[in-house]
């Protein structure tokens, strides 16, 4: 308790220095982060993002993800009228049938868009659209004279886009587009169209109860067949794709673990007496990890072509590096006493490893492997998008068409569910196996 004045001074100086450093840290670090983010702000040209942002794309994407539209189209050359969901051939109503809100007469076809909006296809290509609180717009498209639109008001409202050759009316009920050759009406509905059955199936449009009662009546095989081979949503292909993705993750992870375990013994200080062997193995691990999964995927797809095997091998090679490193670290931390104990009973080297080493490292290995299994499900999705396999490929394909956003939404939901299920499953298995492992050998 005899602190001299000199010593207190020293302590004070030291404390002051510490405080200054803390102050510098607490202000300097946020300032550095801010400076870096400012640099990123300009380096990534975020101010110019507003111009590049395509609002129409965003709107189409969001609207499409929860709603769909049915097209009713008249070919102005032949006078033929057809109705198709999303305008796709797969969703076309068979000849002579049409949605219930389209009434076909001898000369007139009345299309009820709801809320009082009615479009009428008259004789000789004549079109009229009755818009509540506005009036009736008529048009008489012909090949020679153009659209020939007549509006009830002199001023054209902004939701009508009219020129000589084309008129588009966009209201909240739907959309009417008239050109010389075609008259087309869109009506929007909420939900995902034809998710269970396409229009060519007899079960399309039936309620759940009706389908159930028919299934109980002995048609379940046919019902399942129609659902499973749905041309629009391709449930069968989607199920296969998800299976392929999980298969890639499983084969890659487990294969990597099996390759890495023996190599890890060669890289561990306490099991591998030769420095050269150790160093070479370690450099191999670094190389496998350093050449990223992306590059392995490219190299492998040259040799094996696109598909799940290529993805599995890419995961296998990359993770052999990661596992090798982790396993050898785990091996270096094993307790020597257990091995000596086994040795004292006269066990041979193989038995020493089996009963002295493996039980010590299994919990660590298992938890690492299962953690990677979950993480690799995500990687397999990404690799699939590059190399062409699994749900990743289906996702990119649906995106390239730039119109099937409901399918993109569906795949995204499935991917998230898949990863979450794998996460839950690997956690469950880890708890189960490691708990069972603790109970004794």
């Amino acid at each position: 308790m005899t602190i001299t004045a000199n010593e207190t001074d020293l302590l004070k100086v030291e404390a002051d220095r510490l405080f200054n450093r803390k102050k510098l840290m607490s202000f300097g670090l946020p300032a550095m982060v801010l400076a870096y983010l400012t640099y990123i702000f300009f380096a990534f040209d975020i101010p110019g993002l507003a111009q590049r942002f395509e609002v129409d794309n965003a709107r189409a994407l969001v609207a499409d993800s929860y709603s769909y539209k049915t097209h009713v189209t008249r070919d102005n050359r032949t006078g033929e009228i057809s109705a198709a969901i999303e305008g796709e051939r797969k969703g076309t109503y068979p000849d002579g049938t049409s949605p219930e809100w389209v009434t076909r007469g001898e000369t007139e076809t009345v299309i009820d868009l709801g809320d009082g909006h009615v479009v009428t296809f008259g004789a000789d290509n004549f079109v009229s659209y009755a818009i509540p609180e506005y009036g009736i717009v008529t048009a008489q498209p012909s090949r020679a004279k153009g659209v020939q639109a007549v509006l009830p008001t002199d001023e054209t409202p902004e939701w009508i886009n009219a020129s000589k050759n084309r008129m588009t009316i966009t209201t909240e009920a739907g959309r009417l587009t008239i050109t010389r050759n075609r008259t087309e009406v869109f009506r929007y509905f909420n939900g995902w169209e034809l998710f269970f059955f396409t229009l060519d199936s007899p079960y399309s449009g039936l309620s759940v109860g009706e389908v159930m009662s028919r299934a109980l009546g002995g048609e379940h095989a046919q019902i399942w067949q129609d659902f499973w081979t749905n041309k629009m949503w391709r449930h069968q292909d989607v199920a296969w794709a998800i299976f392929e993705t999980i298969l890639m993750a499983f084969l890659g992870t487990m294969g990597a673990a099996m390759v890495a375990l023996p190599l890890a013994f060669m890289a561990a200080k306490n099991f591998s007496p030769f420095m050269v062997v150790r160093q070479v193995t370690r450099r191999f691990f670094d190389f496998f990890r350093g050449v990223d999964a992306l590059i392995w995927t490219i190299v492998l797809s040259r040799a094996f072509g696109p598909g799940p095997l290529t993805g599995a091998l890419a995961i296998l090679i990359t993770d052999t590096g990661s596992f090798g490193k982790m396993f050898s670290e785990a091996l270096e931390n094993v307790d020597k006493k257990q091995i000596e104990g086994i040795q004292s009973t006269g066990a041979k080297p193989i038995q020493r490893y089996r009963f002295g080493v493996i039980p010590q490292i299994t919990p660590i290995l298992l938890s690492q492997i299962l953690y990677y299994l979950e993480s690799n499900t995500r990687s397999a999705t990404i690799i699939g998008a590059i190399t062409g396999g699994g749900i990743g490929l289906m996702l990119t394909q649906a995106m390239i068409t730039q119109k099937d956003w409901e399918e993109v939404t569906y795949y995204i939901v499935l991917i998230i569910l898949m990863v979450m299920v794998m996460d839950w499953f690997s956690g469950w298995l880890r708890r189960k196996l490691i708990a069972a492992d603790d109970s004794g050998h």
Binding site: N57, R289, G290, V299, R302, A303, G389
Partner: protein
């Protein structure tokens, strides 16, 4: 005496029976596992465009082709490395910015989802589910959607990676938070500190080294992710790699330069982060010891 002997025998018989059961279970698990691996391999082989055995001997053809071309044009290598250096910087910037943003968001989410620290204790399960969903989202999904909406470039990749990083780091951070002492928070609360002050002054100093270590590990992962996202159109070195690959033969020296840059970067960051993380955990044990 005979009683004892028989009871010993009983115990022994029991033990042996138990061992047999255990061995059998282990054997069954092993057989099922091998069956899964073999059938899985066969299915994957079947659904692949090229077979495994056909492709195996072609495995080195492509690397050989690339390497021989690169060796031929070895004089151009420094120039090529210099050409692609800016796109490497972009890739690293994407990874760094997304790690930074993701770590900040993850920190907030983790504090909101740790019991005893949460601002709204009732919403803890909600924030946990939010993190689960963010974690489950592969980067490529968000990146592709954002590329469609805002065009190619580094920003979609940055947002996509940051989103996933926030979920992944949030979970790790909240595990760290659970081990932090609550006493500083109580102390700060007693003097009337607000929630953000309690977190910033009471929790963050305790957990910062662990946070930093995890964020560094994530940075390493994110460099790989940002290279992959470049390959699907989000800028950076991955984008250049795809272009170089699509030119095909005769331009493989470009591809080689990109391979090399990517490889060296990943190895360098890997080594650097393991050294720094080693020092972080080491420094802590020293402090505990002293």
């Amino acid at each position: 005496m005979t009683d004892q002997a028989s009871s010993v025998l009983d115990i022994r018989a029991d033990y042996m029976a138990q061992m047999r059961r255990k061995r059998m279970m282990d054997g069954i698990i092993l057989v099922v596992f091998i069956a899964l691996m073999v059938t899985g391999f066969m299915i994957a082989d079947d659904r692949n465009a090229g077979g495994f055995w056909d492709g195996l001997h072609r495995f080195f053809d492509f690397p050989k082709e690339v390497l021989s071309e690169a060796v031929e044009k070895i004089a151009e290598l420094p120039g090529n490395l210099w050409t692609y250096f800016p796109s490497l910087i972009e890739t690293i910037n994407i990874a760094a910015a997304s790690t930074l943003l993701g770590a900040m968001l993850g920190m907030l989410l983790s504090l909101l989802s740790t019991r005893g620290m949460a601002k709204w204790p009732r919403l803890v399960p909600l924030f946990r589910r939010v993190m689960d969903i963010m974690r489950a989202m592969p980067e490529i999904v968000i990146a592709l959607v954002l590329i469609f909406v805002m065009g190619g470039g580094p920003v979609p990749a940055m947002i996509a990676i940051a989103f996933h990083t926030a979920g992944a780091l949030g979970k790790l951070f909240s595990e760290v938070n659970e081990n932090a002492s609550l006493k500083p928070i109580e102390g700060l609360q007693s003097v009337g500190a607000s929630w953000s002050q309690r977190m910033w002054l009471g929790v963050i100093p305790q957990v910062a080294p662990n946070y930093f270590s995890y964020a560094l590990l994530r940075f390493e992962i994110n460099i790989r992710a940002s290279a992959i996202l470049g390959f699907v159109g989000a800028g950076g070195i991955g984008y250049e790699l795809r272009n170089a690959m699509s030119w095909g033969k005769g331009q493989y020296d470009d591809a080689m330069a990109i391979f090399l840059l990517l490889f060296l970067t990943i190895v360098a960051v890997d080594q650097l982060s393991s050294v720094v993380r080693e020092r972080l955990t080491h420094g802590k044990t020293q402090k505990v010891a002293s």
